[in-house]
């Protein structure tokens, strides 16, 4: 204050107040404001220097103030003009800094927008998935708990480690020590395997996805993807494969030992096991099921090639397999995967109570089309909303279903209807995966047709004394109800009568008739289901 008094000592109060008001309203750097203040004071002092009395000074000061005009306007004009006096580098620096601040503030707003709102968890999709499979049935009808228990027991069975390396070998190719190890193991695990067979007769199989499923409810009642799901699932599926291999081992041993009834019943159990896992649950579970079914098909054809089974038992097996196949017309059903995506939508979007909502951070990873679209969405607040995301999910599943309903042959020459450019990034990864999975599924279907056909041919031979000339003959004589379809060709599986039997094959993934030639590796070993060459089901291709 003292310093101000000294600065303004020659001026009337009104001039002092006016100058201070102008300087205050300038709102600029102190150094510049001080310069301007000095200049204004100098102007007033020179203007008022000839005034003798204070009253006259005051009057003249008022006149000068009115000539200067509104202090706020004067301050603005002075500030603008002084800003123009800044050197160019300073102007660039200030403008750049201001631009960065504005951009940063905008990005902050964009980021905050995604954090605004919370998801409303109305449905526990883990429970939904469980209920979808259970369909209100009693837990006593569920084969799953006891199958899992059997898997644990098998691993603990004496001799398991010794046989795990030879488990798929034909007993006729084993040495004595291996045979001994095998029989010891089968004896030790006989009770477990017998009870497994009984369990596999149960009609249903469902998992409880609330515990250990892919979608879990955390402590805050929020649905989230389980971080241990993949690990838990792989452990479980590994144990299911072990069950399958153990059943295969017993089938081989029973067949080798001439115990045909038990061979057939174990074979049916193996197919039942695959059936239980198929057509429900997540894709990863079903793919293991298809692999187990594939194993069962290869196993039965190996046994049929090695052992002479009477026609009656062949018919029994054929009838049982026909019933089992009919339970899941197609080995893979992607419907249950929707639970996963519905949970992601629920978690990734708000819910306005009218079926719509805006995207949250959690939804970004799954429903944005790609990084470029992601940036555009981020900057323009144009993320897909809840309804659009759901529409995308339904569209993806419709595309997926279409792939499974169309045979590979029917797809020939047709361009994919999928316009993946407009799909979310995750969907673009999944659609090609569905293409591959559909081939696996159609392959399983082909194996079913082939197995039934082989059983029919062998029955025909035993009862008629010769193999059929054509597949039509099998249908006409009632050994097959219809011609076995080959999804990889325009017609049925290719059947050719040979000197010592018959040849049965599919055109395979290359959709060409290679005359029953399989693809072999550089060592001459046949490659099962290669993408070139034919898939030969009979005779069993040897190395």
């Amino acid at each position: 204050m003292a310093e101000n008094d000294k600065t303004f000592e020659n001026l009337p109060r009104s001039a002092v107040d006016y100058i201070n008001l102008v300087i205050k309203n300038m709102r600029y750097r102190k150094k510049t404001r001080d310069e301007v203040r000095e200049e204004l004071i100098d102007h007033f002092e020179v203007y008022l220097k000839d005034c003798a009395a204070n009253a006259e000074k005051e009057q003249e000061a008022q006149r000068l103030i009115s000539e200067f005009g509104d202090p706020k306007i004067l301050a603005v004009l002075m500030r603008r003009a002084k800003k123009r006096c800044r050197p160019l580098w300073q102007k660039i620096l200030v403008r750049s800094f201001a631009t960065v601040i504005v951009i940063f503030a905008y990005l902050l707003i964009c980021a905050s927008w995604l954090s605004m709102g919370t998801p409303t968890v109305r449905i526990n999709y883990a429970q939904w998935l469980t209920d979808q499979q259970r369909q209100g049935r009693d837990e006593s009808l569920n084969a799953m708990p006891e199958i899992n228990k059997a898997a644990e027991l098998i691993e603990k069975t004496d001799g398991w480690t010794a046989v795990s390396d030879i488990i798929r070998q034909w007993p006729g190719d084993m040495n004595d020590a291996q045979k001994t190890a095998l029989t010891d193991f089968l004896r030790a695990g006989d009770e477990t395997l017998n009870s497994l067979n009984k369990v596999l007769e149960k009609p249903y199989f469902w998992a409880d996805y609330n515990s250990g499923g892919p979608i879990i409810v955390d402590a805050n009642s929020v649905l989230t993807i389980s971080p241990t799901f993949a690990e838990n699932q792989m452990r479980l599926l590994r144990s299911y494969r072990q069950i399958a291999y153990v059943l295969v081992t017993r089938i081989n041993w029973q067949a080798y030992s001439g115990n045909i009834d038990r061979t057939i019943s174990d074979t049916i159990s193996l197919f039942n096991f695959a059936y239980h896992l198929e057509g429900r649950g997540l894709l990863i579970e079903q793919l293991v099921a298809v692999a187990i079914e594939g194993l069962a098909h290869r196993e039965i054809t190996t046994v049929l090639a090695q052992v002479d089974i009477p026609a009656a038992q062949l018919k029994h097996l054929q009838d049982e397999l026909s019933v089992t196949y009919a339970k899941h017309e197609f080995p893979i059903d992607i419907n249950d995967e929707k639970a996963f995506w519905y949970a992601l939508v629920q978690q990734g979007f708000t819910d306005d109570g009218k079926g719509n909502g805006k995207m949250l951070k959690a939804g970004m990873h799954y429903f944005v089309r790609g990084w470029k679209d992601g940036i555009w969405n981020f900057l323009t607040f144009s993320y897909p909303d809840r309804q659009q995301a759901l529409a995308q999910v339904h569209k993806m599943f419709a595309e997926g279903h279409q792939k499974f309903e169309t045979t590979p042959w029917q797809k020939t020459g047709k361009s994919s209807t999928t316009n993946s450019a407009n799909m979310p990034f995750m969907f673009k990864l999944l659609i090609p995966a569905y293409d591959r999975i559909s081939v696996v599924a159609w392959r399983a279907k082909t194996q079913r047709e082939a197995t039934l056909t082989i059983l029919a041919c062998l029955r025909f031979q035993k009862e008629k004394g010769k193999f059929p000339d054509t597949l039509d003959e099998l249908v006409k004589t009632g050994y097959l109800t219809k011609l076995p379809a080959d999804p990889f060709s325009p017609g049925p599986l290719t059947y050719k009568k040979t000197v010592d039997g018959f040849l049965l094959y599919s055109w395979g993934e290359n959709l060409k008739d290679d005359n029953g030639q399989v693809t072999r590796d550089e060592k001459g070993k046949p490659i099962n289901f290669a993408d070139t060459g034919d898939w030969v089901f009979w005779p069993v291709v040897k190395n």
Binding site: E38, D42, H43, L74, M78, A81, R84
Partner: protein, 113 residues
């Protein structure tokens, strides 16, 4: 005499530069000189004076230096720069042509045949 502000708007910088071309001055001195030289016809509003001077300074048409007066007050003197002189010269020529045109229009001068 009070002129329409829009009329004076364009010529104020030229007038200031013309006055400063004769020697450096401080703000108050400049306004007094303009009034005196124009026979009180032209008056530069006080609210316009300093913003105008700062703008001319930003355009490098004038430059300023600070001097401490006898009373200890810091006084800012303005003088025209080389660039300012060039600008003044071109604006003066334009004003001269404008004045000729206006003279013809208002019948003060006779167009050469």
């Amino acid at each position: 005499m009070k002129f329409e502000s829009q009329l004076l708007k364009g010529i104020a910088p030229v007038v200031v530069l013309q006055i400063l071309s004769r020697g450096e001055m401080y703000g108050y001195e400049l306004t007094r000189t303009i009034e005196q030289r124009s026979d009180e016809i032209l008056t530069l509003g006080k609210g316009t004076l300093y913003p105008l001077l700062y703008n001319l300074e930003a355009k490098r048409l004038v430059k300023a230096r600070v001097e401490t007066t006898k009373s200890g007050r810091k006084r800012r003197y303005y003088s025209i720069t080389g660039k300012g002189k060039e600008y003044l010269s071109s604006q003066t020529e334009q004003l001269r042509k404008l004045r000729s045109g206006l003279d013809f229009v208002f019948g003060v001068a006779i167009k050469p045949a």
